[in-house]
C-alpha cells in the first residue's frame, strides 16, 4: 500500500518537475457561461484572455520575474501529404525549451532570427512525428497547415506527463493533443488575433491575444509571493475572470498534503490490522499456554524459574509473529511488483519499509506475547503438574 502511495506521489512530483517549480502558468480561459450573452452568434466575436499588455505589465512591474514567456495556442490539422494530425500549434519565443524545461531531441528550436523574420519553421512533438512520418525522417521536410507550409527544423523530447501540463484549454478531458511549435511572430502573421473554431457543427470566433504566459521566477521561494502579485495585477485589469493562474509549487504542496492524508489513512488501516493481528497472536498464545500447562509444570519442577518460562513463550510468540512478518514483507514486495506490471501504476518500495515492517511484526510478538507468557509463568507448579 505504501509502495503505491509512494509511486503516486513520485508521479505527482515528476509532473511538477516538468512544469518547473520556479514557474507560474497563466492561461486564458473562457469566462463563465452567464456572461456570454449574445443573440447574434454569427457576428459575435468573443474577446477574452490574456493580452500583450498583461505580458508587459508582468515583465516590467513585478520584481523577481526572470522571464515571461507568451504563447498562442491554435488548434489545427497538420498535414504531411495525405496524413492528418490534430494538434495544438504553439506560437512562442525561442526560450520556451529553457523555461518549460522541455528540450529538443533532434535538430534545433527556432532562434531569435527565425522569430524576427517570422520564418515558417516548426518544431514537432514526438507523438505527432510517428503519425505524420511513420517511415521517413521528418527533419528538413515540410508539413502543411491550412495553405501554408512549414519546414521541420527539430523534434522535441517526449514529455512524461503531457496530460497534466499541456491540459487542453477548453475541452476538459479527452486525450491530450500533441504540441507543435512555431515562432510567435509567424503565428501572429498567419492567424491574426481572431480565431475561428469548429465546434459542434457550427463556427465560433473569438479574439485571444495570448493563450498562455509562463512566468519564470528567479528564486523558487519567491514563487508564491510573485504569483500573488500577478493575481493582483490581472485582477485590476480584467473585468471578467478570463484567465487562470496555476502555480506548480502550490500543486506540489497540495500533492504532498494529499499524500500525507493518504499515508495517514493507510497508516491507520495498517495499525488496525496490526492490532487485530496482535490480538490473534495473543489468542493463539493463550490457547497454546493452556494446552501446554503440563509442560510448564514439568519445566518448573525441573528447575525453570518464572523468568525462563516467560522468555520461552515470548520467544515462541516472536517466532510466530516474525514468520508472519516475513510472509507479509514477501507479499508486500510481490504485490506492488504485480500492480506495476499489470495495472501499470508506478510503485516505489522505500528501502526502509520492509525492515520497518519486519521489526514491527517482531515487536508485536513481544507486546502481545507478553501477557500469555506472564500467565504461563504465574501458574502454580503443583496445579500445572496436575493439569490434564
Amino acid at each position: 500500500m505504501l509502495a503505491i502511495g509512494e509511486g503516486a506521489s513520485f508521479k505527482a512530483q515528476e509532473i511538477i518537475k516538468t512544469l518547473g517549480s520556479q514557474n507560474i502558468l497563466l492561461r486564458s480561459q473562457k469566462p463563465g457561461e452567464e456572461e456570454k450573452i449574445s443573440n447574434r452568434r454569427d457576428n459575435y466575436v468573443l474577446e477574452y484572455g490574456l493580452t500583450n499588455e498583461d505580458l508587459k505589465r508582468i515583465r516590467n512591474t513585478i520584481p523577481g520575474v526572470e522571464t515571461a514567456l507568451p504563447a498562442r495556442v491554435i488548434r489545427e490539422y497538420v498535414w504531411n501529404i495525405a496524413v492528418r494530425v490534430d494538434v495544438d500549434i504553439v506560437g512562442t519565443l525561442p526560450d520556451y525549451p529553457v523555461v518549460r524545461n522541455h528540450q529538443v531531441a533532434i535538430g534545433r528550436f527556432f532562434n531569435q532570427a527565425d522569430l524576427d523574420a517570422a520564418e515558417t519553421v516548426c518544431v514537432l512533438g514526438t507523438e505527432m512525428v510517428q503519425k505524420l512520418f511513420p517511415l521517413d525522417e521528418p527533419l528538413g521536410k515540410d508539413v502543411r497547415i491550412g495553405e501554408n507550409y512549414y519546414r521541420v527544423i527539430g523534434i522535441m523530447e517526449p514529455r512524461t506527463t503531457g496530460a497534466f501540463s499541456e491540459g487542453n484549454l477548453e475541452e476538459a478531458g479527452g486525450a491530450p493533443r500533441d504540441r507543435m511549435f512555431i515562432p510567435l511572430e509567424t503565428a501572429r502573421h498567419r492567424y491574426g488575433e481572431v480565431l475561428f473554431r469548429r465546434r459542434a457543427g457550427s463556427f465560433e470566433s473569438e479574439r485571444v491575444a495570448l493563450h498562455e504566459i509562463t512566468v519564470k521566477v528567479v528564486k523558487s521561494e519567491d514563487v508564491i509571493p510573485v504569483s500573488e502579485a500577478i493575481k493582483d495585477v490581472l485582477e485590476k485589469n480584467h473585468k471578467k475572470k478570463d484567465y487562470a493562474v496555476v502555480v506548480p509549487l502550490e500543486l506540489l504542496k497540495k500533492a504532498e498534503e494529499t499524500k500525507k492524508i493518504f499515508n495517514l489513512v493507510l497508516g491507520s488501516i495498517a495499525a488496525i490490522s496490526l492490532l487485530v493481528g496482535g490480538i490473534g497472536i495473543m489468542n493463539i498464545m493463550l490457547a497454546n499456554v493452556t494446552e501446554r500447562t503440563r509442560e510448564i509444570g514439568i519445566r518448573r519442577a525441573l528447575g525453570a524459574r518464572r523468568k525462563d518460562i516467560t522468555t520461552q513463550f515470548v520467544i515462541e510468540s516472536v517466532i510466530l509473529s516474525a514468520s508472519g512478518g516475513l510472509l507479509g514483507v514477501l507479499l508486500g514486495v510481490l504485490i506492488p511488483f504485480g500492480v506495476s506490471h499489470f495495472a501499470g501504476m508506478r510503485t516505489i518500495i522505500t528501502p526502509g519499509s520492509p525492515i520497518l515492517a519486519f521489526t514491527i511484526s517482531g515487536l508485536i510478538g513481544v507486546v502481545f506475547g507478553l501477557y500469555p507468557a506472564l500467565r504461563a509463568a504465574k501458574m502454580d507448579p503443583v496445579e500445572a503438574l496436575r493439569h490434564e
Binding site: E295, G297, R299, L302, V382
Partner: protein, 248 residues
C-alpha cells in the same frame, strides 16, 4: 493431638547442625500445611517431623487423603509449608522465594512422576537435557551427560525417539534418567510404577535398587504394598500425621 511419634534413631550429629557428611539430608520439623477451601481451612499435614539420611531408600504409604501428595510437594519444593521448617541438605528452604525454590529444584532434586511427564515434542535425549538446560550447562556437556544416562537406563538406541514412540516402561526410564541428570541430593518418585504393568514396574524398581546401591537417596510415594516392601524404610501416614516408621 498427640505429638508425632518419631521412631527413627537419632543421627549422631545434632539436629541443628548444618549439612555435613553424616547429618540428615532431609529434616522436617513440625511441618504443617493447611489449604484454604472456600471459607474453611483443611489441614493436610499437622506438624510432621522426620529425618532422612543420605543414601536411604524410603517409601511413603497411606490411604488417600492422608497427606502423601502434600508431603511430596513440600519435599519437592513445589509448595511452601504453612508452618514448621524443612531443611534440605542443611539449608532451610521453607521460606525461600519462588526463584530460589526453582534453583533448589533444578540443582538438588530429581522427580519421577506416575504419568512420566515427558515433554512430548522433545526427543529422549532432549528430555534428559531439560534440567541441565536450566542449570546453564554447556550444550556439548549436557549432550554427553544425557547420552551417558540414557545408556545407563538401557535406552542408548532410542536417543532420537519421541516419547510417544516408547512404551510406558521405557518412558519411565527416560524420566529416571532425567531425574538423575543434575546429580540430585534426593530423588522423589510419585507412584513411579502406578501406570506400569508388573514386569515394567519391576524393571523400574530394579533401577531404583541400583541407584540405592550407588548411594542415592530415594523417597517414593506408593499405594502398592509390594512396592513399599522393597524400600529399606517404610513410613505410613494417616490424617496428616506419622502413623508408623519401619526400617529393615
Amino acid at each position: 493431638m498427640s505429638p508425632p511419634p518419631n521412631l527413627a534413631p537419632k543421627p549422631p550429629a545434632s539436629a541443628t547442625s548444618h549439612a555435613s557428611a553424616t547429618g540428615p539430608i532431609v529434616r522436617l520439623e513440625k511441618l504443617r500445611k493447611t489449604y484454604q477451601m472456600g471459607g474453611t481451612s483443611v489441614t493436610a499435614l499437622s506438624g510432621l517431623s522426620l529425618e532422612i539420611l543420605a543414601g536411604e531408600y524410603l517409601a511413603i504409604m497411606g490411604p488417600s487423603g492422608c497427606g502423601k501428595s502434600t508431603l511430596l510437594n513440600l519435599l519437592g519444593c513445589l509448595d511452601r509449608p504453612t508452618g514448621g521448617q524443612y531443611f534440605l541438605g542443611g539449608q532451610d528452604v521453607s521460606d525461600l522465594d519462588d526463584d530460589a525454590l526453582s534453583a533448589i529444584r533444578g540443582a538438588r532434586l530429581g522427580f519421577v512422576f506416575q504419568s512420566y511427564n515427558l515433554i512430548q515434542q522433545l526427543s529422549v535425549v532432549e528430555n534428559i537435557e531439560v534440567p541441565l538446560f536450566y542449570q546453564d550447562c554447556p550444550e556439548e556437556q549436557a549432550r554427553q551427560i544425557a547420552t551417558d544416562l540414557a545408556r545407563r537406563v538401557g535406552l542408548e538406541t532410542r536417543l532420537d525417539h519421541k516419547p510417544f514412540e516408547l512404551s510406558g516402561g521405557q518412558q519411565q526410564r527416560v524420566a529416571i534418567a532425567r531425574a538423575l541428570a543434575n546429580d540430585p541430593l534426593v530423588i522423589l518418585a510419585d507412584e513411579a510404577t502406578g501406570n506400569l504393568d508388573s514386569a515394567s514396574g519391576r524393571e523400574i524398581l530394579d533401577i531404583f535398587d541400583d541407584l540405592r546401591q550407588q548411594g542415592k537417596t530415594l523417597i517414593m510415594v506408593t499405594h502398592d504394598l509390594e512396592v513399599g516392601e522393597r524400600a529399606k524404610r517404610l513410613i505410613r501416614l494417616r490424617d496428616g500425621e506419622l502413623e508408623s516408621d519401619l526400617r529393615k
